[in-house]
């Protein structure tokens, strides 16, 4: 990847990996909404679902694409940011250029960094423990991931951490979704209006959807 110098090709990679991650967000949210089920039923259902995901060969293959996408998206953004910094030259003494664009469209790197830092914690606390840690079994004999998640969200600070990360993700999507389509080359004005609206709905839906889970668990259990 390092040998691709061209920025449009690089941006295509950002767009395609970004859109794949958007697709993953939907699946991940739908799966995790099972956490909102009544405790006893939810525990069995959620642990069964987790077990299915970790043993299905197709899901396993897709998960490798997912890890690769996260890494490619991250590395590429760093490369492009450094390149852009070099291109922009010296700064203005008085700079009011901000009036022309939305703050989140200029702060994609910052928002992305917050999301990435969150992902490290998220992977460490759930993915890593599920894969390599010692977890008790539930009554059906599956690893009790449900118990781990519910216990984690009893801590208010942990819920707040999630809220910050999800908010950052929401703004990242608000710009990233339509921007990806532009990068790939969707230039028809009608479809652009449509994509922009869908992008807003998607970003809001993901933000609210992901907000609900930690707050619901914190307040209810």
């Amino acid at each position: 990847m390092w040998f691709i110098k061209n920025a449009i090709t690089r941006k295509n990679l950002m767009a395609i990996t970004g859109l794949f991650l958007c697709f993953f967000l939907i699946i991940h949210l739908l799966g995790n909404l099972q956490l909102l089920m009544p405790p006893d039923e939810g525990r069995l259902q959620y642990n069964l679902y987790s077990d299915f995901l970790s043993n299905n060969i197709l899901v396993k293959l897709i998960s490798y694409v997912l890890y690769a996408s996260i890494l490619a998206h991250t590395i590429d953004s760093i490369y492009l940011s450094i390149k852009a910094k070099k291109a922009s030259g010296s700064s203005y003494v008085l700079d009011k250029r901000n009036r022309a664009s939305k703050w989140y469209s200029r702060q994609m790197m910052l928002l992305g960094t917050i999301v990435f830092a969150f992902l490290v914690i998220h992977f460490k606390d759930f993915w890593f423990i599920y894969k390599f840690g010692a977890l008790p079994m539930d009554s059906a004999g599956n690893k009790d991931l449900y118990g781990l998640v519910v216990a984690a969200f009893q801590d208010l600070w942990y819920v707040i951490l999630y809220a910050i990360a999800i908010l950052a993700l929401g703004f990242h999507l608000l710009h990233g979704f339509f921007s990806a389509f532009r990068t790939i080359g969707l230039y028809n004005p009608k479809y652009n209006r449509l994509v922009k609206s869908v992008g807003v709905i998607f970003a809001v839906a993901m933000t609210i959807g992901y907000f609900i889970i930690p707050f619901y668990i914190y307040l209810n259990l």
């Binding site: 852009a84 250029r97 200029r106 921007s179 532009r182 990068t183 080359g185």
Partner: protein, 247 residues
């Protein structure tokens, strides 16, 4: 009107620039911004000082020669206006106005407010033309172009190459400038034929010259004197991707 001007002074490309303060007492509200700078220069010349250098030509908002950062915004506070079409009535008595050159790695300062925008010429030279002589205007019904298509191509062609898009972009990207030419030609039958080759050559030249990439903040269109649409950039990406996939 009394105006406190803070003007960027820089002797040449190799020296460091700084802001210099000048007070102008008799600024007329009906003066254009450039006439106000003329007034300053007259004053400086009378005092035996070096006048402030800035680019300008038609002073009618057509040529794209003028262009400075005024109070931190390309071409000043009015939207879709060139510097020459900005008048002092947009400011108040006693205002402080910062005047700086457009800044980007690909736009080195020549002196004061004058920057070298020949990088734009280089991009055009890489493919912003039709290589065959298209001759006289053909009979109007022999090549049919829809009204919408013709208007859209004309909108793209309206770019005056002032460089405000680069100055406004946080990445100093020349995507709006380059794409307006690419899509103007791609929309018309004479230009369509060479679209792939042209797009690849112009995009590569744009990058070699040190311009940044586009992150779709859309700030360029907001500050563009001609309101060139950011969808031109999407079309450039489309043409580029198409050319690369076909190869």
């Amino acid at each position: 009107m009394k105006i406190d001007l803070k003007v960027w002074r820089q002797k040449n490309q190799n020296t460091k620039g700084h802001l210099e303060s000048y007070i102008l007492d008799e600024v007329d509200a009906e003066m254009s911004f450039l006439e106000m700078l003329d007034m300053l220069n007259l004053k400086l010349a009378k005092r035996g000082e070096r006048p402030v250098e800035f680019d300008h030509d038609c002073r009618e908002g057509i040529c794209g020669q003028c262009g400075v950062m005024i109070n931190g915004i390309a071409h000043g506070p009015l939207k879709n206006t060139t510097t020459c079409q900005l008048h002092m009535r947009s400011f108040k008595d006693g205002d402080t106005i910062y005047v700086e050159p457009f800044k980007a790695k690909a736009f080195p300062v020549i002196r004061d407010l004058k920057v070298d925008r020949s990088a734009f010429d280089d991009i055009i030279a890489a493919g912003g033309y039709i290589s065959v002589n298209t001759g006289q205007a053909p009979e109007a019904n022999s090549i049919l172009i829809s009204h919408d298509e013709a208007e859209s191509a004309f909108d793209s062609a309206a770019c005056i190459g002032c460089g405000a898009c680069v100055a406004t972009c946080k990445n100093a990207s020349a995507a709006l400038f380059t794409s307006s030419k690419i899509s103007q030609l791609a929309k018309l039958p004479q230009g369509k034929k060479e679209s792939s080759k042209r797009t690849v050559n112009m995009v590569n030249r744009m990058e070699d010259l040190g311009f940044g990439h586009c992150t779709n903040t859309e700030a360029c269109q907001v500050e563009c004197p001609q309101d060139i649409s950011v969808l031109n950039i999407a079309q450039m990406n489309y043409e580029y991707n198409k050319a690369k996939l076909k190869k």
